[in-house]
């Protein structure tokens, strides 16, 4: 849907809509409690992580978890513009969805979802970066979501990619941040839910932590979850984050010889 005429872009027709398919209604309800076909509910999607693909950036990472594809680049530390003197550096996170990244086309104008994901990722990373080493500067982290499969997955994978890119850029950190999402469905905990799974869940929780230090950096919970379940979610996510940490560390080690 083209919300407004924009002379800076090539414009299509005034109004267009996503194709409507016949016999679609029953299908979606039959998916609700379908069991995952190729992984257990306690498993995360396989991660492909490649640091340093974007040669123009100071640091970068590309992450792919099945159909989720996110590219991330880090620029900086560079001079802060239009801001007052600050003893600590600023961590700026911007997220952009490609127009073709979701089932429905996203108009190129920025919407609220970009910003809420950017805030979640910023919060996950903020306490891991040694910003006191970068007075008067800004570290820019840009993410482009090439293909999305669940908002929770976007935040979790985005945080992992951003932390990897920060490490690739050689920016001082206390530890690598990894992140994992869970959805509560009935009494079960579904780790790393897809779009479809989180749509039918009671509630979701995203945990970001620095496994090397055993410190949690951010918890993002939404929906209806009992306090005891929240603790169970955090435990489950924490275990997966430790696994993810070794994947990230290995990816960084493998790319290290290319750096020099």
């Amino acid at each position: 849907m083209q919300s407004a005429f924009d002379r800076r872009r090539i414009n299509g027709p005034e109004d267009s809509y996503h194709p409507v398919f016949a016999n679609e209604i029953h299908e979606s309800s039959s998916h609700v409690h379908r069991i995952r076909e190729n992984r257990k509910i306690s498993d995360i999607r396989p991660i492909f992580l490649q640091p340093g693909l974007i040669s123009q950036a100071n640091g970068s990472a590309y992450i792919e978890t099945e159909s989720m594809k996110i590219a991330c680049s880090v620029y900086g530390p560079r001079q802060s513009k239009n801001t007052a003197y600050n003893e600590k550096g600023r961590l700026n996170v911007e997220v952009k969805f490609a127009p073709y990244s979701c089932e429905l086309r996203r108009s190129p104008l920025r919407d609220a979802e970009d910003r809420s994901i950017a805030v979640a990722i910023q919060q996950a990373l903020l306490s891991s970066v040694q910003l006191e080493h970068f007075p008067k500067s800004t570290i820019d982290i840009f993410l482009v979501i090439i293909e999305a499969d669940g908002i929770e997955g976007c935040i979790a994978s985005g945080s992992i990619a951003a932390s990897t890119a920060l490490a690739d850029a050689g920016i001082d950190m206390y530890g690598l941040v990894t992140s994992c999402a869970t959805a509560v469905k009935g009494t079960d905990l579904w780790i790393d839910p897809t779009q479809e799974e989180s749509n039918t869940a009671n509630g979701t929780l995203i945990l970001s932590c620095m496994p090397a230090l055993g410190i949690v950096t951010n918890v993002w919970q939404s929906g209806r979850i009992a306090p005891s379940e929240i603790l169970a979610c955090i435990d489950a996510c924490n275990d997966r984050c430790t696994d993810i940490h070794s994947v990230v560390a290995q990816a960084l080690l493998d790319s290290a010889p290319n750096k020099i």
Binding site: S16, A71, S101
Partner: protein
Amino acid sequence: MASVLPSSSTNPSASSVNSFLSAAEREAIKAATFQRLHPRIYLERFLEEKIRPDGRPTAENIEDPNAWRNVEVNVGSITTAPGSALVRIGKTTVVCGIKAEICEPELDNPDEGFLVPNVDLPALCSPKFKPGPPTEEAQVLSERLNEVLGNGMLSLSSLCICSGKSAWVLYVDATVINYDGNVFDATLLAMVCALKNVSLPHADFDPELHRTVCTRSETDPSKPARKLAIQEDLVPLAFSFGVFAGSHLLPDPTASEETLLDTYISVILDAHAQVLSVSQLGAGVDNYEALDQGVNNLPSSREADTLARCISLAKKRQAVLIKKVYNTST
């Protein structure tokens, strides 16, 4: 205040960092610093040695296929788009995804759908760009691509579902992931490959409900999805050249070369290597700078010569590229 200032114990000075590095690493840092401070002289010194900074040969052996960077094409990797392609030319990376939506045709052209190509240069791809609305460069790129794709390669009437009532609109969105020069060629290639990859579901216009209903080929095999009716003869491919210092012809320029170019020439060829369009941005090739370089025996038709040379080089390259692209996309 003193605690904020970097002390020598936490931030080692430049000389002590250097002592950790091997001789080769120190040389590499020196070269990178020199490139940053004197980009023009840096490039000139490479060209004097008949080599380009990324290791490609120059002028004399320009017939060499290594004068162009390696091209990689990966089609159909984005499942949320009915057509998609990822193209890499050297380190330049472009992703193109196509979304098909349904709209009402224009009153003037009741039998035609829409093709809407747009290029996005996000802040991610290069330090040149800031987040926000499309930059001038992105606008110019989109405009040029719209012109090239509107050449009749895809007849818009093939996108019509019901005359005057319903038609397809194809949003062709390209996102540049890594901006390392020659983005125009890469984007055009990505868009063409993505268009070839599109499969549209069968669509019927229901005059009673006044709406269009599509059918998935999995639910009703009698109504299969279809590929776009692309005129293979008219499929465009672009080949860009930069002219540096009036005398060096650089095919497929990189980002660091692009900023130093006087002239930028793009040749667009169809599938039979016929010229569809030639564009020259920047000063004429035969200018006083060339004379300054000591090339004063240039014929007066030098400019035409350069264009003719670009076209013949583009044709040679096209033969190589078309084999490669067709092999990967089918």
